[in-house]
């Protein structure tokens, strides 16, 4: 149900872009209170808590182990968010790109919080 509600965000152009890079973009939908991750041509809606958790999962991938391990199984990392439609199959390069995207998105989200705080102070 969450995904179909969120898909209305795209249809109605209600997305505000927070960050864009070569491999993807991150958006906020203030009408459904969710985020959208566009990555490798796919769109993924994320509730706030899912985004925070997903970012931690991506940040915690042990890249050094992946690089040092010569076995084929370590070529890819599989990351699943329970409410995402798909799981992510990522190589090292993609992990680094996604990390950068999510970190930048997080920074923009925090910046928005700071601005809200300052504006709130101005109003009082």
């Amino acid at each position: 149900m969450f995904w179909s509600e969120c898909e209305m965000c795209i249809d109605h152009n209600q997305l505000k872009q927070l960050y864009k890079s070569e491999i993807g973009a991150f958006y906020q939908c203030s009408s459904k209170n969710c985020y959208w991750l566009e990555f490798a041509g796919e769109w993924h809606p994320l509730k706030v808590s899912d985004f925070l958790f997903f970012k931690k999962e991506i940040d915690s991938i042990d890249l050094l182990s992946m690089l040092e391990d010569p076995s084929r199984t370590s070529d890819l990392a599989i990351v699943q968010s329970y409410r995402a439609k798909r799981c992510f199959l990522l190589n090292v390069h993609e992990i680094l790109q996604l990390r950068e995207l999510l970190r930048a998105a997080r920074f923009m989200i925090e910046l928005n919080s700071v601005l809200h705080e300052r504006l709130q102070q101005q109003l009082i």
Partner: protein, 175 residues
């Protein structure tokens, strides 16, 4: 643009992470005390076994206090993995020495969290920590006092039995 992040949680990411680390520390403490209890029971030191069982329960309660706080503030508390719990201890005295070291480590952890709270101006969490900081005075005192008993009474003869008998009577009073 709506501030979705603050609608969800009042905790900064760094504070949430450090609180989740502390949840793990408290859970680890609880498991170590349980191991000590079992060892003491095995050695026939009934009162010490009871003392450590009670300590294990207390540490778990501390963990749950922090756990609930993180969730109450909109964060996500992580149920911790516990590893590296000793199954054997060198001696009766070494068990209490380890208990004191453990408590001092916990105190230091809370000091670090308090420092981070000040740094990030999270005075609500800083206020929440006060109870734990006061609690650590008692925990360290009790652990030290019991170790003093080993010096005062000694373990020779019926010494171990005497120490074991008095362990649960040690308590902290502010006056």
């Amino acid at each position: 643009m709506k501030d979705l992040l603050r609608l969800k949680t009042s905790l900064k990411e760094e504070i949430e992470n450090i609180l989740n680390e502390q949840i793990k520390v408290e859970a680890h403490s609880s498991a170590i005390y349980l191991a000590m209890s079992s060892w003491c029971d095995d050695q026939g030191l009934d009162f010490s076994a009871g003392f450590f069982e009670k300590q294990a329960e207390e540490e778990r309660n501390h963990m749950m206090k922090i756990f609930k706080y993180v969730n109450d503030r909109g964060g996500r508390a992580i149920s911790p993995e516990i590893q590296n719990i000793p199954k054997d201890f060198e001696s009766f005295r070494s068990v209490f020495e380890l208990a004191l070291e453990q408590e001092m480590h916990v105190t230091q952890q809370f000091n670090n969290i308090a420092e981070q709270c000040m740094k990030h101006k999270d005075f609500v969490t800083f206020q929440f920590l006060q109870w734990f900081l006061e609690e650590q005075i008692e925990e360290e005192y009790v652990a030290r006092r019991i170790l003093d008993m080993f010096d005062v009474i000694g373990e020779e003869g019926t010494g171990r039995w005497e120490i074991d008998k008095h362990v649960q009577k040690v308590s902290y009073s502010e006056e």
